[in-house]
Point group: C2
Chain length 215, copies 2
């Protein structure tokens, strides 16, 4: 019985890793669609978001069913409750990729990002992708050391976000209010995506060590 | 034993209602601080956010403990899992009030909101407050009919949000990029607060009726 339960617990973790993989692809594609005004890719991210949502629904139903059938206590129960929270974080990260893709679609055939910000956005996308990959490993290996690293990665995202705002406020900014609004929201989407990744890393850290990360 | 369990279930609901009350006060104060450049009130919202966070921690620990001790199944288990999700929504709504208050503090002694948008922001604050009050009743009375109303209230928020963006894009806009960035983010904070309220309403609707609201 314990063996079967352990198998099901592992299954929950495997699905979370699978979700993280899809979120990473969505975020990578959304960034590419945004920077290259690729409408087909933007549409794909928008359409594929329902796949992430469906996996979350299935996973949560399975997790709740597992709690009901097995009445776990202590660390098993905490693991399952934490899984529900991590699936919610991942689902929301998928939504944010979806928002970025919608921004790309809205400005097509133009690119939403002006030339002086495209490197910064590319970098935000790259760091975000790195964080999501790390989070995937953290979930899979329950790796507390790597969970601590994510806080530092998030500082990179915050610095890039500040850089966007500085660029918008520079007197030489010549792309007007509409592009400034787009860029404000895009910066926020990447930042929020990284925040959710930090949440996941903190949850795993707590599960493994029993203490909170300093922040 | 069932009687004791029911009492504890009711206790969880009471704490959620209490959280909603604090979130509503925070949102009301944040809006007032924003519109009147009231630094003391802004600081109060910022400081009091930890109270909401602490109540959430205590409530979640209590809820998980209840699941571990009582091994509930079916509707009791669903109610407790839903409580964990609602407390996360409410905690996040508190964060958004905190963000609004920080925006007020950052621009002090100036007001962050220019005169032509102060009525729109006031209205967003009013509708948000109404929604949070409704959500509080929905949790308390498990009122599915009222849960449906929240979707319509959210349409009001979306319309006000569009009005902000239109104002920013109007050729007569004379407050520059920095104020446009502030207003873009503020609009987003109110909108996200209402989105979380809609989530809570949908969760209660599903608990009570067993079906999803149409959207």
């Amino acid at each position: 019985m314990r063996e079967q339960f352990q198998k099901e617990l592992d299954g929950v973790s495997t699905t979370l890793v699978q979700m993280a993989g899809l979120v990473r692809v969505a975020m990578d594609n959304a960034t590419t669609a945004l920077l290259t005004a690729d409408l087909t890719l933007a549409e794909k991210v928008i359409a594929d978001d329902t796949i992430i949502d469906e996996i979350q629904h299935e996973l949560d139903a399975r997790t709740i069913n597992l709690i009901a059938r097995q009445s776990p206590v202590a660390s098993d129960l905490r693991t399952l409750i934490t899984s529900l929270r991590m699936s919610a974080d991942l689902e929301r990260m998928g939504d944010l990729a979806h928002h970025i893709a919608k921004s790309a679609r809205m400005r097509y055939p133009a690119t939403a990002v002006p030339p002086e910000l495209s490197l910064t956005i590319e970098e935000m996308g790259r760091v975000c992708s790195k964080i999501i990959e790390k989070v995937s490993t953290i979930i899979e290996k329950r790796d507390a050391d790597r969970a601590l690293e994510v806080e530092k990665d998030d500082d990179e995202i915050d610095a890039l976000h500040r850089k966007i705002i500085q660029t918008l406020l520079d007197p030489t900014w010549k792309h007007g209010i509409e592009t400034a609004i787009d860029m404000t929201l895009l910066g926020r989407y990447y930042e929020r995506c990284a925040d959710h990744a930090v949440s996941i890393a903190r949850r795993v850290y707590f599960l493994v060590t029993g203490s909170y990360t300093k922040n």
